[in-house]
Subunit: 354 residues, 4 copies
């Protein structure tokens, strides 16, 4: 990490004008182990990032530019893709051929089973080979494979928050796999910067809604893929996303049936053991509970497992910043592993007390 | 309703300086069928309501005063009690003896089974006779009994929002009773006006938390009491309250297992039939969904039932204004029935489009 | 007001799909003295208003339709125009010719001096005759002329809030005209429903900005027109608009130099006297101060004048709901006067205490 | 800064359980040049900081303890005092005697003229000697004196935001001193953590008010003290504080009369020149404007000067995070200078893009 800037790996962000791209720019501009060389953005090409995001003033960022695969190959060793859905499909192969390492933040390479794309994304997927190669970038679960990957598919925000909460409990057999309900609440930045009545201030402020209900959200197959692997059986979840009137943060409340012997101490110990030594997971104990306040602005996830003994039901609470651990921060964490840098490099962030 | 003001029944509010009391004052000051004669408040006695709530300027409200049972008996035909928990226990018997009708907004008379007070409120209940007499004031379910009651126990805000969503489906056998999960989110006014770090702006804004988790919230026995009656069997629910960064509104997302044959059309038809003609229930159809925006400021509840066919699970969404349908508005609705006034009197409220 | 619905004047709203249009729909649907017959909207034609605004459910509103002058002439006696700037210019003459009364909510007819359109709106104005005929619809100042008008130009939201605060003090000579500063803060709904990064939730929440600074906002000439009339001399104001992270409300803090003898009692008495008997103005006394909370949802303006004796400066605070007294409510108030209905008809609204 | 932790100066915070204290704890725990040894708090003594502020989890902070002057002398080389008003008066002399350096965040030592305490704080001040010794801790203005001080009086949040905006323009004679108006808007954290209806969520959210109006706010004499020094003449300001519905940030809009020749370019150049090389001041150019978003979480102030040529008036916009540049961050900046550390040490913070 003390290499002079000119000797550090060069990184570029494509789709840099969106929210995840802006967060990547913030993190990478201050990262001690890499050098941010280019920010790709089509419709904003030629603009300065601080014109779109005044909070990025003073970071010395590159001007937005149209970046094709050739420019990326010339300017970067690692590329982050924060493109709209399906746009990565064409770009990733060319970058890999040019020898770049790629962290893709879209859903385009997250599902191992191509048929799921037809069910949840309404299109066929023509690169099952890359689906097979891509490593699902949850470092707390797949860290070893991430370290050796050319292509990491960065998980979704809801996904990260739900999977990390439930994976250890399913794997340990403390949670039964057959009746999982995940009730998730997201801040508005999860929707991104595209203009829509959905993210207009007057629609959201003072309001609360559910959306993409009844099993229709595209993050469901990711969640089921990972949790099925944990449980060792094909499971189905009921997942409901809601929209919170705040900028950042996902809070998931997940419900399942307790396996025999799964008391609260066992549940909490399971999480603490599974995540022992992991820098970005806070497995809470006793009556401690997650809050958005304590994770916003950081790459942390907070998780607390509780038992509703009257109903024999496990309730797991988890919280992340959807733009950091749910997107840009986790992408940097994956890059750190891919480049052999310390996992925390550039991610030494603190939450505001109020 | 066209009676001259002097001939209308006289009503008083005790505990009028809290949020529910302030909302009662607003509604009763404009009610065409009654006359608001007194606002009881101990620590604020002598103050004008608009000193605490500038939005109450111009309504011609009485000054807050210390009101004992004797004063109430002299000044009112109907008393609304919005007192802290356990304080109604001593007041209600004296008001009933004095011949008043009483709508109690606390939890003191909501549970038919006195033993539940020990489990959830941590005190014994010494008036099982009044628990038996008190009518649980959900007019859409117990309206006929409300009309003849001396004492109506006004349901809690979470309670109203959850019970009205699930009651018809359980009663019709479309929802199985054994695995109900209610994930509820409330605005801050549900906590009331008492000073606490829990409702400080800097704690709440931009934040989201769960509280009283794992089967500990005092509204649980109310919900189980009513839903067990609907299902015809003793059932247990898992209920989790959360705190939304907004002033008003409760949104409940309730999950249960679909009974055989319970498709989405059947679920929605069941709700629509059960609530046909009820002025304050919107049983939504098709893809319409509840939102806080469309109920805040009104006595409405919006309910939508959906089927997650992949998981065989029914998801019911419901929304209310916790201070209106969840407290003051429902109390006025109960009073209207008790006095033989039109059920909607004084409750012709509209929500703001943005 | 007790006329059967079929005998009431028919009213239509054009540009009904925007925020001011939605608020007009809400108010007119419940107005006891008129009949809402049509809602004009081009791009949303064919949609139900509740598809855009769920809070409008249950009001029995007409479906949005494309309405030309001919349709309006056939269906309405009064038309409200809530169109984008310059679009009223072509419509108003045709409606007047067809015999309709018109309340125009745009800026197209607010300025008596056509040259100001070139300075602040960057286009020439080709109907000085209509500028002359149009009555500036501040009923508290021009009520008598409004009553006889065919065309009322409804003032802007900032404008109403600023003018009503300062007009009486300038007219009485208590405030010197030469150094007025108006620092105004508006909720996001003042920007309207058009999609823009300006009104995206993530841009606004937790943020605060000034915009159209240094004498560039198009409401300035309106303010100067009316205040110059009050002062009897041509005056210039410094006006700065800011964006508040909330939906509704304008709060203006206006500064000027006290004339000799202008003590706080005299300032407050001046306002109280000027607005005596006016139903929608609260001229506050003593230490009472305006708040957005106490006006949002109502057609009220609250005004308080204070003296900074150290600096010899008058500070006047005023607050309105920008969509009601600043737009739709004032438009209905103007219509009431134009139709000879009670000024308060349909405007008996109350603010929420919290 | 690369000294081993045990050789670094030891610092303690007294009054550490309040908001400024929590922010100090966050900053000092991560500061590379000092060692945080103690957090003083009376009513919270024995609690862990993360019990009050979950966002402080994981920082390895000391437990809150009651700290008298003796304990402080034993455990610290530098003390930060974040105590309620007047409480520093007794503590500071004892700490100075014990040889500590002190940064006091209260108003107790900010005014050089003791008589102002009677006017604005309603008590006499009995240590004019310390008022004389204390250095007013605005490093951009008094940095040289700060470096040699034993006692630094850290400026108020409104004060910092207003003075840094106007000082250079007054000093350069571009702004006339006789008619300054400062209209300031603050987030709720400026009020602190004490329980009050003033900072309850339901009072603040969706609301906007002014308070301590008409020349009564206690920050006025500080502002006048510094700006009078800049102008070379005794001046009086009109200052109005308002409460924004958000957690952090102060935005000040300041108005004054332009001196002859003060065009916009000259105003902006004056600010840029005055603050050239200062790490925490962004003097904006052209049409760039400050926003809370771009300073919250950082020790930055953004300033933009504009000319309202129509009115001959200068308008200066400035924005800070009231808990960082307006309190804890500036205190750390002062400490850095007092200890001979780099001015930016521990203050390398970035704002969130959304």
């Amino acid at each position: 990490m003390t290499a002079p800037a000119r000797d550090r790996p060069r990184v570029a962000v494509v789709g840099a004008s969106g929210y995840a791209g802006a967060e990547l720019a913030r993190l990478l501009a201050r990262h001690p182990g890499v050098r941010l060389t280019a920010l790709g953005a089509d419709s904003s090409a030629g603009k300065r990032p601080e014109e779109l995001y005044p909070a990025l003033r003073g970071l010395g960022l590159p001007t937005y530019a149209k970046l094709g695969a050739a420019e990326l190959a010339a300017e970067a060793d690692v590329a982050f893709l924060a493109l709209p859905h399906t746009e990565s499909l064409a770009v990733v192969p060319r970058l890999l051929e040019a020898g770049l390492k790629v962290v893709d933040l879209s859903g385009d390479f997250r599902l191992g089973d191509a048929s799921q794309y037809e069910a949840f994304y309404r299109h066929a997927h023509d690169r099952p080979d890359l689906l097979k190669e891509a490593v699902y970038g949850l470092p707390e679960i797949h860290g070893a494979r991430v370290a050796g990957a050319r292509l990491v598919s960065n998980p979704g925000c809801y996904t990260t928050t739900a999977i990390l909460a439930l994976y250890p409990l399913l794997k340990a057999g403390l949670l039964r796999p057959e009746a999982l309900v995940i009730d998730a609440k997201s801040g508005v930045s999860g929707y991104g910067r595209k203009l829509s009545s959905f993210n207009q201030f007057c629609e959201v402020d003072g309001n609360f809604i559910a959306y993409k209900v009844a099993g229709s959200h595209q993050h469901i197959p990711e969640i089921e893929q990972e949790l099925s692997a944990a449980a060792g059986t094909r499971l189905t979840v009921t997942f409901t996303p809601h929209l919170l009137p705040l900028n950042r943060g996902i809070f998931a409340t997940s419900y399942g049936l307790a396996a025999p012997g799964a008391d609260e101490a066992a549940l909490q110990a399971c999480l603490a053991d599974f995540y022992a030594g992991r820098p970005f997971v806070r497995a809470l104990r006793g009556a401690e509970m997650p809050s958005l306040r304590s994770v916003v602005g950081t790459n942390l996830i907070e998780i607390a497992a509780r038992l509703d003994a009257r109903a024999g039901r496990v309730v797991v609470f988890s919280a992340t910043d959807n733009l950091v651990k749910g997107a840009a921060g986790q992408a940097v964490q994956n890059m750190n592993l891919m480049l052999g840098l310390p996992e925390e490099a550039g991610l030494d962030l603190s939450a505001l007390p109020v």
